[in-house]
Symmetry: C2
């Protein structure tokens, strides 16, 4: 597979033209101009066939999702999308597949004003890595580590839709169009991330499920509050160790009665009260964020402007642990990770 | 495989600490500060088991090579290495393999002053993508498109060593230590790339073989000279089309008698005069660059300082095509790509 030909044929002019791209695809490196006063936000994600997507998934949807996953990471920092690179590994050259994949990728890139500035195409088992690059005024990124005791915990959109589609697909059941679209063509909440600069104290995107991802906010914010890791660090910022991080974590309580659920998820929960569906399913790509209660009045007009539900679901507590308050007032602690034993906890 | 645990265990503090890393691994994005007046150079490369390396290759060497390939791209622009991201796909968690891989990656990162700022670990067929990020004073990058008629064509080091090792490995022959090291642990020519700012008019790293990579310089420089593509472009800079690019290309002649060859490659050529070995083998990761003849006097002191051969091997011609001048004065045109019919051309 001649790499250059492949890129030229299928990925030419993919995405938006941007004046900050000094030199794009076609040299040893791309050259980029980061405006003065801006920090660069970067994130790389890999999707592997058979692990992150079904090998026979619609390639146009896969092109969309491969960029959406990274855009969701930019959104979760409050970054403005700028550039992307694409490393694509394919078992064989398949023009029809590539055209569809490129179309899905390009449509989202253009919609978000992103330029594709580099990439690599290789032969091998189907997988792809996308690195996204965004811009944030220096010091204004919204990190995981900023939540404070008493802050409200909020989420965008609805939770559990992608998980519902995945469960039905794996079970061989018919999949409703709404949940399928959430799974295969997630909408990164970029505009929300930008709007929450100066409002949210901490933020993360829900890619691994609310419990796991809120858990990252609790751990990072707890450690930061106790001064165990520096928010501004010259080192890569790795944690000192799992057990000390968990001990230092903040806690949170969330009220299941107010969890934002689509009709499809609500209906499934009525049939089978398994709260792991909205609490532990990945791939929703909504944002989970915290903000002081006195800023809560900013949410309704923001939700109106964006046409997106923004729901306070709980608050940050001083002691480690996540507590769920069930619809009947029962309190219990969900487990991170293995949720097999969780089905009857609600 | 718990992604965060894996990264924390094996990739903590990988590489150098840098003050321009505002936030490293552990949030939705890394945050980076590009100094004012600098452009950002980025390149992403994927290595797939069974395609780019043998699945049983020494993981420490693979860790080294996975970063070296990207460093070579930075070198080829004259960029100073800064940051790297690593997307690693593994069939299973293997602590011993990961430790060795991380050690090889980290040793080269530290040597080059690079910080690992982000990554992703996924389960799947063994492959990895590394994106490198470097810094260049604005406008000083050395592109492929700057060669002018009459410029000398130069290469660093020796050519064909990695190809010799690969041929012997594939044939089941014993592989000499020197060529094997060139194949498995290539040395990116970063210091040379930096030193050639202001000297070289065009540059590329030799990853696909001299003929193919010099060919890129000839095409890009020809098109730029004819004004068919802008050197400073706001668009991604894709070529307009293969045939018009080839028509617009510059040419070059190279003198095989002065091609820099190691004793091992020289000996093999004496047994089998197949010039595709030094001309078309990939993976050497030397630099090919052009410069005006009046600057040639800068090369010997630079070669002395770097302890690296810098050899003028030919010159740029106004008409498209690459001409080889054999040791006996015979002139012939090597073909790009398929070299099977090339063995007896010398």
């Amino acid at each position: 597979m001649p790499e250059f030909e492949l890129i030229r044929t299928h990925f030419a002019h993919l995405g938006a033209a941007r004046s900050d791209v000094v030199l794009g695809v076609g040299d040893d490196c791309a050259l980029l101009a980061v405006p003065a006063g801006q920090e660069l936000a970067v994130s790389i994600d890999t999707l592997v066939a058979g692990v992150h997507f079904f090998p026979d998934v619609d390639p146009e949807a896969l092109g969309h999702k491969s960029l959406a996953v990274g855009l969701s990471d930019l959104a979760a920092m409050g970054a403005e999308p700028a550039w992307a690179t694409l490393a694509l590994t394919l078992p064989a050259e398949d023009g029809r597949w590539l055209r569809a994949f490129a179309a899905g990728f390009a449509a989202l890139a253009r919609e978000q004003g992103m330029a594709l500035i580099g990439g690599d195409t290789t032969r091998g088992p189907l997988s792809l890595s996308v690195q996204v690059h965004g811009l944030i005024p220096a010091g204004r990124a919204i990190r995981r580590a900023g939540a404070r005791v008493g802050d409200l915990v909020c989420v965008s959109g609805t939770l559990g839709d992608a998980g519902l589609a995945l469960r039905d697909l794996l079970a061989g059941r018919e999949v409703a169009a709404g949940p399928r679209a959430r799974l295969e063509r997630p909408t990164p909440r970029v505009a929300l991330g930008l709007a929450l600069r100066g409002l949210a104290t901490a933020m993360i995107d829900i890619s691994d499920g609310l419990v796991a991802d809120l858990g990252h906010i609790l751990e990072e914010s707890g450690a930061a509050a106790r001064g165990e890791r520096s928010g501004e660090s010259a080192s890569p910022g790795y944690r000192r160790g799992a057990s000390s991080a968990a001990d230092a974590a903040l806690g949170a309580e969330i009220r299941l009665a107010v969890l934002p659920l689509s009709p499809a998820v609500r209906e499934r929960l009525a049939q089978d009260p398994d709260w792991s569906l909205p609490l532990a399913s990945g791939d929703d790509y909504e944002l989970c964020f915290t903000l002081p209660p006195e800023r809560a009045s900013a949410l309704p007009p923001l939700a109106d402007r964006l046409g997106l539900a923004l729901t306070p679901i709980g608050r940050i507590l001083p002691t480690a642990g996540l507590v769920c308050i069930g619809p009947a007032g029962d309190r219990w602690t969900p487990q991170r990770g293995g949720y097999n034993h969780f089905a009857d906890a609600g």
